[in-house]
């Protein structure tokens, strides 16, 4: 399915954020490099490419390619449809779909699964990140491709798929912003592309002023003061988003998440600025 070269790197942290299928897709186009998410994200001065988990516009694309890959891998790898084990053909247990209980073989990613299901988390905005982390480590311990070097190529492939998927699920659910955006995507109201035509002009003015203040900040104290202010606003927003999602007010939640995106950008810039001060000393 994949060229071997790209399969090899799937388990590296770098591969987790630039899955090979996007690269493969890009490589088939003439200006592959300009299309790749990694580059767009790295040029995006406010987002450290790894930390912020790639610009969300690209994030959506990655998603799309991923599902495509999953479907095609299924159709060509197994004649059996889930929930049967591809190896021993027995019915899989609903609770654990990563491995077959009877023959212990690793299974391909489940179709139509969500990151919440993979990470065994409640479908809620205020999820327990500690539990998420534990689950992540636990899953990677069993799914990581290093464990499958002696197994068949097919199993290696499944392990690489699963492990990459778990990485993606973990990074998406870890941060409130990406978690919220993902939830909106699942609910069918993703963030709009393009410009904020009906944005509140007072809000934009506020953003402009905060950005200018940060730009002019001469001391680390001034910068971190802005950072504190953003932190407070983000905490407030988190609460509001949780409330909105609980009530099922998806459009309100989307508006709040948009605000969160702007504030998170500023927070990132504060961090950048502070590290700039540090390196000047």
């Amino acid at each position: 399915m994949f060229p071997l070269g790209s399969l090899r790197i799937i388990c590296s942290p770098r591969a987790a954020r630039h899955p090979p299928w996007t690269r493969k897709h890009g490589a088939s186009l003439p200006n592959a490099a300009t299309l790749s998410p990694s580059m767009a994200a790295s040029f995006h001065s406010n987002n450290p490419p790894w930390h912020n988990g790639v610009n969300f516009r690209e994030f959506g694309k990655v998603e799309f390619y991923y599902t495509k890959t999953v479907f095609s891998s299924k159709s060509c790898c197994t004649s059996q449809i889930k929930p049967h084990c591809w190896n021993c053909k027995r019915l899989l247990e609903k609770t654990s779909t990563f491995f077959c209980k009877s023959c212990q073989a690793i299974q391909p990613p489940e179709e139509g699964t969500t990151y919440f299901k993979i990470m065994d988390c409640d479908y809620t905005f205020t999820l327990d990140t500690h539990k998420l982390q534990t689950r992540y480590l636990q899953l990677q311990r069993s799914l990581h491709p290093d464990n499958f070097s002696q197994k068949s190529v097919k199993e290696q492939g499944f392990s690489e798929h699963q492990s990459a998927l778990v990485n993606k699920a973990y990074t998406t659910l870890l941060k409130p912003l990406s978690r919220g955006l993902y939830m909106l995507e699942l609910e069918g109201v993703p963030l709009e592309e393009g410009t904020d035509s009906h944005a509140d002009s007072d809000f934009l003015l506020e953003l402009m002023e905060v950005n200018e203040a940060l730009d002019e900040a001469q001391t680390p104290e001034e910068a971190s003061k802005i950072g504190q202010c953003m932190k407070g606003k983000l905490a407030d927003l988190t609460e509001q988003i949780d409330a909105a999602l609980h009530k099922g007010e998806l459009h309100a939640a989307r508006a709040l998440l948009t605000k969160m995106k702007y504030y998170t950008n500023i927070e990132e810039k504060v961090k950048e600025k502070l590290s700039g001060f540090m390196s000047n000393i």
Partner: protein
């Protein structure tokens, strides 16, 4: 012949290995020279008095990437844009798009400025598809600035009318 075929087969892999070994090198050459130029030497950065009657201010944001852009125009009595300033907090493409937009609106009439399309900006800067929204942001900023100016003129005419009566 065989050499050409082999080269074709290997070229995607070559790209892969190059990207893995020296990513910075590839990043540098990805953006068009014009974007880099505008990013490094942005034109017309600054602010004007937004309360002035001759100044139109456009303030827009892109929700998906969290960029904010402010574009201001100064219009003379003949309805010609004599000066433009911008301030953008966002990625390189957004900065380049707004910098180019200020260059383009200068010297144009209001109607001419309204005809600047995001596709023209994107074409001029050779923006990649994932960055097209930056040029859309610049177009919207021009439109918002023009609308703000027109609203101000309209209001002052109304006031003038009232005083006249």
């Amino acid at each position: 012949m065989a050499g050409a075929v082999a080269k074709k087969c290997l070229s995607p892999l070559a790209l892969l290995s190059r990207r893995l070994s020296a990513p910075e090198l590839v990043f540098k050459s990805c953006y068009h020279q014009k974007v880099v130029d505008h990013y490094e030497n942005p034109r017309n950065v600054g602010s004007m008095d937004k309360n002035s009657k001759n100044v139109g201010t456009g303030l827009v944001g892109a929700p998906a990437c969290g960029d904010v852009m402010k574009l201001q125009i100064e219009v003379d009595d003949q309805g010609k844009i004599v000066d433009a300033k911008f301030k953008t907090f966002g990625c390189g493409s957004a900065i380049a798009s707004s910098s180019l937009a200020t260059e383009w609106v200068k010297g144009k009439t209001l109607d001419e400025a309204l005809n600047i399309k995001n596709t023209d900006i994107a074409k001029e800067l050779s923006l990649p598809p994932v960055k097209l929204h930056c040029s859309m942001l610049a177009e919207d900023a021009i439109k918002a600035a023009l609308a703000d100016y027109r609203l101000k003129q309209h209001d002052s005419q109304k006031k003038a009318g009232r005083v006249g009566n």
